[in-house]
Symmetry: C2
Subunit: 213 residues, 2 copies
């Protein structure tokens, strides 16, 4: 199914606006850039910006699109004989060990973090994303453990699993913001992951184990 000119243009326009906006935000901070400036810099009208992005914060987090279902995907993709929590720990260790930009281990992430740090609306949006991640994890756990799970257990387990994720991301964010080197932070977070695993109960570590094939 060939993509029409209209579709292509829309995608390009959207990407262009997002790029221009992110550049301005990283340059001067979230507050100091107005929607009108973004529109001007992107050579479109203000209304066109709103056409693609419901709110100013969406301009900043556009790239973080695939992040909200990553945890749920990791859980659904766990190995046979592996629990949800262990799958998440394994995937996180992989990303951190690889010093992956997907978890913020890259040069320049400090600029990104600083913008968020100084803008309350962006922090709010980040919490909102965490909530989405949590909801996706709950949904994944309910599906993976069978619809039989009607009680509060999937919710509680999702809380524990999201706590793992949060602890890792908050730490990476804090250390990168402090100007540390990605490789250095990577080593530190690998230790943190061991600490985290030690704090989890067996019940959590053995929840939603995928049956052997």
């Amino acid at each position: 199914m060939a993509e029409g000119l209209r579709e292509r243009k829309k995608r390009q326009t959207r990407q262009h606006i997002s790029d221009v906006a992110t550049g301005l935000f990283l340059e001067r901070g979230f507050d100091a850039v107005t929607m009108a400036e973004v529109a001007d810099a992107a050579d479109v009208s203000v209304n066109t910006v709103y056409n693609y992005f419901p709110a100013k914060e969406d301009l900043f987090f556009d790239r973080s699109a695939g992040m909200v279902d990553r945890l749920a995907r990791w859980i659904r993709g766990r190995d046979a004989g592996e629990s949800a929590a262990r799958a998440v720990l394994r995937e996180l260790r992989g990303e951190v060990e690889a010093v992956s930009p997907r978890v913020g281990l890259m040069v320049g992430y400090d600029r990104f973090m600083r913008v968020i740090h100084e803008a309350p609306p962006l922090r709010s949006r980040l919490w909102s994303l965490q909530q989405e991640i949590h909801d996706n994890v709950v949904a994944a756990l309910r599906e993976e453990t069978g619809a039989a799970e009607e009680g509060p257990l999937p919710d509680l387990m999702a809380g524990q699993i999201c706590w793992i994720h949060q602890a890792v991301f908050v730490t990476i964010g804090r250390e990168m913001l402090a100007g540390r080197e990605p490789a250095e932070v990577s080593r530190e977070v690998l230790v943190l992951l061991d600490d985290i695993e030690e704090l989890l109960s067996e019940k959590v570590l053995n929840y939603a184990v995928r049956a052997a094939p």
Copy 2:
């Protein structure tokens, strides 16, 4: 030290504005009430409202003032031989068993929850309060375990303790919003607290035990 007329008037004015505003919000929802309407209804100028409350959301959460350090207070006030987590569990069980309005177990809390539920800015502010609670817990744990704790452990433990708190409050909020009776929700949450305790590892349950006297 006798309180001057000025102090008294300020407190009264502040309380009056907060009461009027909360009434309007519960009546018509957060979005549907403008700052100008609050000011009119309270017989003050818009600027006076901003004089007492930095933002519209502060008008709504004014009463929840003592909530941000409650967890930290519970931890600091734990019994001899009791850990931080167990103190929090004990205090929560007390409040829930007493069907206390302090944890939302009261008639009319559903109206309160509905306003929050329908207003994204209020949900954001709630997350921001959670963050404050977390920070206070970290501070309390660091002090209570001695300044020796330089590592990430207090942060991780605070995450676990706040998770307990969150799970309880989210559940109460959800059930009350669904129109359940406080007494009924109380019974249900007591069971939830048992589930929660079972999911915590011994490491968490035995962190920051207060020395015997």
